[in-house]
């Protein structure tokens, strides 16, 4: 799995200047499984420590999510919620979307069809 981190400042909404209001985009490529989930966890941990509170997991190029991957997503969703942050998902392919749907998790996350829609929503 490859991870690419992009920070898009100024897309935070009402108070763009405030720390943590920037939209942090974490693009995931390949499979989010036992071997690769650790990298994502580390990256998220690091960004949280740096103050990121609005995170988008861009899954456009991700073709599989395992139970461990789900666990990382869930754990950081809960953590961000408890710190008044938000974890969004974007660009889920059909298989990945089905996993979230059938596990009953799609209602927990804000899920967007594409990254553009996340940007559009948060620029509005």
């Amino acid at each position: 799995m490859d991870l690419s981190l992009t920070v898009e400042p100024g897309l935070g909404g009402e108070r763009p200047a405030e720390q943590g209001s920037e939209l942090l985009i974490v693009a995931i490529k390949g499979e989010l499984d036992t071997n690769t989930s650790g990298q994502l966890e580390l990256a998220l941990q690091e960004q949280l420590q740096r103050g990121a509170r609005r995170i988008v997991l861009d899954m456009t190029a991700m073709d599989y999510v395992s139970s461990v991957g789900l666990r990382v997503c869930l754990a950081y969703l809960k953590r961000l919620k408890s710190e008044a942050g938000i974890l969004m998902l974007a660009g889920l392919n059909e298989e990945v979307q089905e996993v979230f749907d059938m596990a009953g998790f799609s209602g927990l996350f804000e899920i967007f069809p594409s990254l553009e829609e996340v940007r559009a929503r948060h620029q509005a």
């Binding site: 789900l70 666990r71 869930l74 996993v99 059938m102 596990a103 009953g104």
Partner: protein, 450 residues
Amino acid sequence: MLLREDSAFKIGWDVLICLIALATGLILPIELVQGFTYGRDLTDWWMAFSAIGLVDVALTFLTSYEERGLIVSDSKSVARGYLLGWFWLDIVANLPFFLFKASHHGLTLVALLPLLRLQQLVRITGRWEDIQLLNSSVLRIIRYGMCIMLITNWNACLWLWIGLRDFDPQGWIQRLALPRDDFLDLYLHSLYWTVTTLATVGYGDIVPKTRPELLMAIAMMITGALLYAFAVGNVVSILNQFDGGRAEFRRRQSAIADYLALNGVDRDVITRLRRFNDYQWSRSRGFDARELFDELPDELRGEVIHSMLRETIKNVPLFAEAPQSLQQRLLLLLRPQSYPPGTALLEAGKLGDQIVFVLRGIVEISSVPPLGEALRRVECGDYIGDLSFFLRERRNARAVATTYVDALVLSRPVFDELRQQEPQMKALLQVMAQRQSLRNQELVLAGIVL
């Protein structure tokens, strides 16, 4: 619009017709003996019974009936069928022929014609069996009871008639010096003699002496013997019907246990197998429903299974949320499975290839040994196996039945078929998943895949 033979009105009407037929079989012979002896007419009741009988004939023209599994509900066919069959017997049984009298001695034998109503008892009870109003064994007992009552009564009447006809001045009534004007007392003596003879008790206080009496006694003893044989045969057959299946099941159980013991299977395993089979028996009476269902067309099979599980599936959200057509399809395709206590519904280490919907009983989800920690209880209406199924991963926990569990199993090929053919299926599972969300969050966060 014809009347249905299983409508409440028709069933109530048939009960009335049965009572009239039974009253005819029991009271008419007594009144006839009285009438022949004392030159009396029949009571007015018989006119009323005839009138009701004729209304029944008219009603039969307006009632659909079943023939070789087909409902005949076209009025012309109903009329033709009746006219070519029972109509003539019914009309003869119910027209008031007893009003015709021979000029010199009151009643004639045509007054016996209403006895033809007795065929109604056989026809109506047969119909009740067809529409499942009464259990067939119960109906056999009722029919046999009526048969004994009627035969005993007719023999008593015949014996009384022989005594009253004075074929011989030394007949049984004279020998016992019974007053001839007390008809009830005479009938009771006659009935008493009939019952003691038919029952082969024969106290010997009333004995046949004259020729007609001897002939009657011989006939009665033969009838008694035949009734006995008939009774024993019937009782054995009814008992077999009630318990034959269980006896056969026990024999089979015992043969299986012997075979397993012979092949060194542990006694504990054999006992568990026996308990499971006992449970299965309590649910199915040893009947393999698959045999029945395989022969049925899909739609009828769906309806039968749906009716059988109507109460159970009310508590299962998968079915409660599904439209009726999808419910029936699910019931057709999902595999019913029972699990005895202690057996795994889903085993750890295996790839998620099925989702199990719990219909009855309690299941415990536990982590794998050596920890073997109980994680959660699952009850009626819940389902398990979904995480490993949709993630296509190996399970790292197991689900074990703590009581007897009845479940429906959705395998992957069936799921794929349903998803392709039933567009509502995916939406239905999504709704279901929302209900399981909290449980799945707990499991996923604890690193459990089931």
